[in-house]
Amino acid sequence: MNNLIDIMQLSVEEIDKLIETALDIIDNPEKYAEACHGKKLATLFFEPSTRTRLSFEAAMYELGGNVLGFSAANSSSAAKGESVADTVRTVGCYADIIAMRHPKEGAPLVATRTAGVPVINAGDGGHNHPTQTLADLLTIYREKGGFENLTIGLCGDLKFGRTVHSLISAMSRYKGIKFVLISPEELKVPKYIISDVIEKNNIPYEEVTSLEENMPKLDILYMTRVQRERFFNEADYLRLKDTYVLTPDKMKLGKDSLSVLHPLPRVNEISVAVDDDPRACYFKQVLNGKYMRMALILKLLEVEV
């Protein structure tokens, strides 16, 4: 069965193919307007995430398909204690493909066993969120024209930030990549990602605390939000949340060709004054996310256009 649970399930070639499809969708939207006519996407959101759900739904509508589903666990059978396996087995009878978000890690993998239709992981707790990484990748591709020879700065919460871990894994497969890991001591990239991904692929990296000092060398700056729900201690959250704030002053230190990405939503780690800078790509990233979700739905449904 075709599923997407973890970004690393996709080979470099498959990512290239998705990007090719997404670029063709951007250039020729009318060609795809009826590609999924008569097909239904179920968005099963056991925890709310309006932006991800809307992106999937918009993607399916633009392919001429239909959408059904729920947007919170309390409006679903999960509130009555039904297992993930049973819920998706039921939904698999109605829908052609499922996009699922769940607070528990591994829930979408469980879903693949009984759904009978393709399952897309739309985020499982702090674990994986592969379609966010697809959005990141298309943005990098469109801004840089490829994935090679890039110095990528990742800034903020690098410990709990799942999008950071997935992006590091995905980018580690290309040539000429360097990582600059910018975080407070408490929020550094976990050791196993350094050893199992970065060092294993012989990728040069540095772990630093200053954003200003490292701005000039970056081709890409991937900002992240420090998330309150990852902390047990409110005081730690308050102390760390404002460690990095990207301002127009700091942007002056960056290259002209810099691209700033952020998985959104932001709180205050990028000041609104940066939004008008042509190097700010985080709203383009949202749009790119929709195109990649369209490409992914086509791939998983094996629709040829």
Binding site: S83, V84, A85, H102, P103, K104, E105, G106, A107, L109, V110, D124, G125, G126, H127, Y192, D196
Partner: protein, 142 residues
Amino acid sequence: MIVDQIEEGIVLDHITAGNSNQIYNVLGLDKLDCTVATIQNADSVKMGKKDIIKIGKLIDIDLDIIGYIDPGVTVSIIKDGKIVERKKLALPETIKDIIKCKNPRCITSCEQELRQEFKLVDRENKIYRCIYCESQAPKHIK
């Protein structure tokens, strides 16, 4: 000390000293109706000290569990007082329902009927990860 040869059964030799109780327990040897001898802290040329378990009956044992706890164990099958087969153990690729994922955010923490399943990701360092949440497995069963 000499423990009698067995005519028919299984000998687990070269158990790291101290591991025999754990192996005894996970294999459920206390539930057998035959003789089971556990020898602890026996002298070993190779290992210094070792444990040995002798089971006086040919039973099905889960080699993967032993391989996970103590991959150096040798398993000999005895028939008519002779060794008819020696099995070498290795770390199993997957282990099911032996260890429990400790991550409170893992789907297995709220859906109890799911099997606990871990896959080997690093043979050299004996690292297993939960197939659901990828948390690292605890090194020991208890």
